[in-house]
């Protein structure tokens, strides 16, 4: 088997399942970038757990050869954390759409970040609900007309980049399948970052998206942060870049913590090691109550 040779190629991560995505969907590029990034990392597929919620993009774990978990709407992050805490040796990826991550599951994001569990979270942000056929998403621009915002949306969109930065994420990046080498590098770097890492991918919806969101338009307008001379260690600059979300398409690493703090699971391991020294054997656990009696 390839894994035993310890050399892995992108196709080792591609499953036989045929995607349900529309031809030309941005998510094809995202899954490709994940195959390539994982091949560069070199961990065998069976040591990877890939969790998602519900939505077009949440089908993604099934298109890989990793252990996949296509769960329920909005709950991918807590499930992914449970997996990582249960077995910190696994490489844990988490993915989904903007509705899954910022709307129905939006309450989990700050907590996953404040715990700093070593998970890579990739959001395929297309500003529309595709699976349910074209409703308003939390990242859609104000005034966007959809079947549920017939006269234009009234609410402001969420700014996911600004949110995750303010929650304290140690790694924050944005990419697009319109720049495959760039996206692959971001996914790889996010996985290598020792702590919670967030990659927002502007992955266009060919069916319900607007013209200016499509890959062709993105290619003409995207701006690489490294070309702009952005220093990803500068938190305040990162915040400034994030404020342009929805107006300009910046690609690259917005922020990378210069000294990544200890992860949740590292601290758990320390606690387990220290406390296990005075554990009663399991079969004598009831003696705990005798002390108090």
């Amino acid at each position: 088997m390839t894994a035993q040779l310890n050399v892995v190629s992108p196709k080792d991560f591609k499953s036989e399942l045929k995607p349900i995505w529309c031809p030309g969907c941005g998510d094809y590029g995202v899954v490709q970038s994940i195959y390539r990034a994982l091949a560069n990392i070199g961990r065998p597929a069976h040591e990877i757990a890939f969790v998602s919620g519900i939505g077009c993009s949440s089908r993604i774990p099934g298109y890989t050869t990793a252990y996949g978990f296509n769960s329920v709407h909005g709950r991918s992050l807590p499930i992914a954390q449970g997996i990582k805490l249960a077995n910190p040796d696994l490489l844990v990826l988490c993915a989904g759409g903007d509705g899954d991550g910022f709307s129905i599951g939006g309450g989990h994001l700050p907590h996953a970040i404040r715990r700093n569990v070593d998970i890579t979270y990739i959001v395929m942000d297309n500003q529309v609900y595709g699976l349910t056929k074209g409703q308003l998403s939390p990242t859609a621009a104000k005034g966007r007309k959809t079947v549920t915002s017939v006269y234009g949306s009234i609410e402001r969109p969420i700014n996911p980049l600004l949110q995750v930065l303010s929650y304290g994420a140690g790694f924050v990046a944005q990419g697009t399948p319109a720049d495959m080498p760039g996206l692959t590098a971001l996914v790889e770097e996010a996985i290598r970052y020792p702590g919670f890492a967030f990659v927002n991918v502007q992955s266009p919806c060919v069916t319900y998206g607007e013209e200016h969101q499509q890959m062709k338009a993105q290619k003409a307008t995207m701006k690489s942060l490294s070309t702009l001379g952005h220093d990803p260690q500068d938190f305040l600059k990162a915040l400034e870049v994030a404020t342009h979300y929805g107006v300009e398409l910046h690609t690259g690493v917005l922020y990378r913590h210069p000294e990544p703090p200890a992860t949740y699971e590292q601290q758990i391991r320390e606690r387990q090691t220290t406390l296990s020294r005075d554990a009663l054997p399991r079969e004598r656990i009831l003696e705990l109550f005798q002390k108090h009696a």
Binding site: H46, Y67, G68, F69, R75, L288, F289, A293
Partner: protein, 600 residues
């Protein structure tokens, strides 16, 4: 002299009435009595009304008992809020603080003529002896010890342990208050003899392994014993002590507690940990169970083992958050969309919590399914003597992993004869699969085919067929040929057990069935139990009588078997159930004597 005494006390939060109750049962348990204490509170965090019911007996009891033998009211306003939990009757000796201004003639107990009533200057005596109102509970303990003869050295020992760490002075004040109570009791004997029969103090060997604990703590300990390594949850009354216990202990066993951001994240993390191969658990109460329901469905279709404890409280919604009810049975069995068969276990006492929790993990692991433990506030927060548990007699089961041969052509949801398919976990080479909430084929690939959905539903339901044959999880007592049947579950079962004993002692022929596995319904076993039954009662603490109605869905329950049910926070008492049984027996006699001439 008495062999069995029930004492009820109520006061406001700061009075320390519950800690007095704890001192009493600790001392009684150490002296070798069977001790049991239930607590009931108002909804306030501090202050507010609080109460406890203490039952101490020379042999094993099964419930908090009936009407009080001794009632202690530090103030009447608080005491009366527990009217249905602290029942005062003709047998009761009532004690209250004379500072309340209430006299024997102005007792606020309409329609009740207690056996004795005594206004005691509790506040005055405490101030004189201890110089502070804070030691009122120690004075009460002195009174109780004096009147009942419950081991005073043991009580003092416990008090010392409690107060000495807070300072010599406080301990001395409490010691003086206790002594004042004791001598007051000696000088004012009651007209009713409430002295508890003395028993020989147990030897060290006899008390070895005997513990005094509550349902929540022993549930958490059982989870560790069963191999639980992950707990995800969110604080909610009255289940939180389970998480608190595990947050102290589970790390020592390589496990983790995640205090999640909400109920959904708690169960979702537990499901994630289970997917990763660890035995995992969550605990909550009714409102939390509502929130967790979608993820429970996920665990059912993805066939992931999970133990969920619902410590029931009064509902719906916030309901009666600090009080007991058995109103979540429908929810446990039927919540969630789609066709799901969900095992539900219910402990009936503190000791049961251990068995039931180990069993819940075993069932979850064997059949790769979520299992619900329906505990209840009354059991979860009840402290009780538990006889030694020999942990070596328990079998601990872990999920069936695929063999190397099976991994060569691994299908996660292989349609086996038992319905159980070997389960892989991340890290195992050759075992990768897609766990999903979406319907899938045997390999785990998504499928929207009606035929596949049928096949998979059949497979999932087939897994639990064997469970219905687990007759060891249906407890029956009494003469199998008895014409009168009692069925009860959870926190009402102990009451029925005592009611049956009382009934049989009166010559009534009553038998009892208590399911520890409440769902799925073991149709055959119930049918056999009801065979030849001429009348009966299904007793439970819910407004609708939920078990009764579920039984009628599945079993041909004789029409002469009726539901005896009422809302929570109004616990049944053995004497009440006995009275209903006597009525039932009378009707039966009537029926027989009426029927006989007609046949002639």
């Amino acid at each position: 002299m008495t062999a069995d005494i029930v004492i009820g006390m109520a006061g406001s939060g700061g009075d320390g009435i519950v800690s007095a109750g704890e001192s009493l049962i600790n001392a009684a348990a150490r002296a070798g009595y069977h001790a049991l204490m239930t607590k009931s509170f108002g909804p306030q965090i501090r202050g507010g009304e609080s109460s406890c019911r203490v039952r101490i007996a020379t042999s094993r009891t099964h419930s908090p008992g009936g009407a009080l033998d001794l009632a202690v009211a530090l103030n009447w306003e608080d005491f009366l809020k527990f009217g249905s939990e602290l029942k005062v009757a003709g047998r009761t000796v009532v004690i209250w603080d004379s500072a309340t201004g209430v006299t024997k003639d102005t007792l606020p107990l309409p329609g009740v003529k207690p056996a004795d009533a005594l206004a005691v200057p509790l506040t005055e005596l405490t101030r004189a002896a201890a110089g502070t109102d804070k030691a009122k509970n120690s004075l009460v303990l002195g009174l109780l010890s004096g009147w009942t003869g419950i081991a005073q050295e043991a009580i003092l020992e416990g008090l010392k342990k409690r107060y000495i760490k807070k300072g010599e002075e406080l301990w001395a004040a409490n010691e003086r208050a206790f002594a004042a109570g004791l001598s007051y009791a000696k000088e004012h004997p009651l007209s009713v003899d409430l002295r508890l029969e003395q028993i020989a103090r147990p030897t060290d060997a006899q008390s070895k392994g005997k513990i005094l604990t509550d349902g929540n703590d022993i549930t958490a300990a059982a989870a560790i014993f069963a191999g639980c390594q992950f707990f995800g949850g969110y604080p909610i009354t009255p289940s939180t002590e389970i998480m608190q216990f595990l947050a102290r202990e589970i790390w020592k066993y390589g496990g983790t507690v995640l205090q999640a951001e909400d109920e959904i994240a708690g169960v979702a993390a537990a499901v994630g940990a289970s997917f990763a191969g660890k035995k995992s658990m969550t605990a909550t109460s009714g409102p939390g169970m509502d929130l967790k329901t979608e993820v429970l469905g996920l665990a059912s279709i993805a066939e992931l083992p999970l133990v969920l404890v619902n410590v029931q409280r009064g509902g719906p919604s916030t309901g009666l958050p600090t009080k007991a009810e058995q109103g979540d049975l429908y929810q446990a069995c039927f919540s969630g969309h789609g066709d799901v068969l969900r095992p539900v276990l219910a402990p009936t006492c503190v000791a049961d919590c251990f068995d039931v929790t180990v069993e819940a993990f075993n069932i979850a692991e064997t059949y790769q399914t979520p299992v619900i433990i329906l505990s209840a506030q009354e059991i979860a927060q009840r402290k009780e003597t538990v006889d030694p548990i020999d942990t070596s007699r328990y079998q601990i089961v872990s999920r069936q992993a695929p063999t190397e041969a099976e991994l060569l052509d691994y299908k996660r949801f292989r349609n086996t004869e038992s319905g159980v398919s070997p389960i892989s976990r991340p890290g195992i080479q050759g075992g990768a699969y897609l766990a999903a909430g979406i319907e899938h084929n045997e390999a785990g690939d998504p499928s929207a085919s009606g035929a596949m959905h049928t096949l998979m539903n059949e497979k999932r339901f087939r897994k639990l067929r064997a469970l219905k044959q687990r007759e060891d999880l249906l407890l029956t007592e009494g003469d199998p040929m008895a014409p009168i049947a009692l069925v009860s579950w959870g926190s009402s079962a102990g009451i029925c057990r005592e009611a049956m004993q009382l009934a049989n002692a009166k010559g009534l022929r009553v038998k009892l069935l208590v399911p520890l596995l409440v769902y799925p319904i073991a149709e055959d076993a119930y049918a056999r139990f009801f065979q030849g039954v001429q009348a009966g009662l299904v007793v439970e603490q819910s407004f609708q009588g939920q078990l009764y109605r579920i039984l009628r869905m599945y079993v041909d329950v004789p029409s002469s078997v009726h539901s005896m049910c009422r809302s929570g926070a109004n616990p049944f008492q053995p004497a009440e159930v006995l009275a209903r049984l006597q009525e039932v027996a009378l009707t039966l006699q009537g029926r027989v004597s009426n029927a006989t001439p007609a046949q002639e």
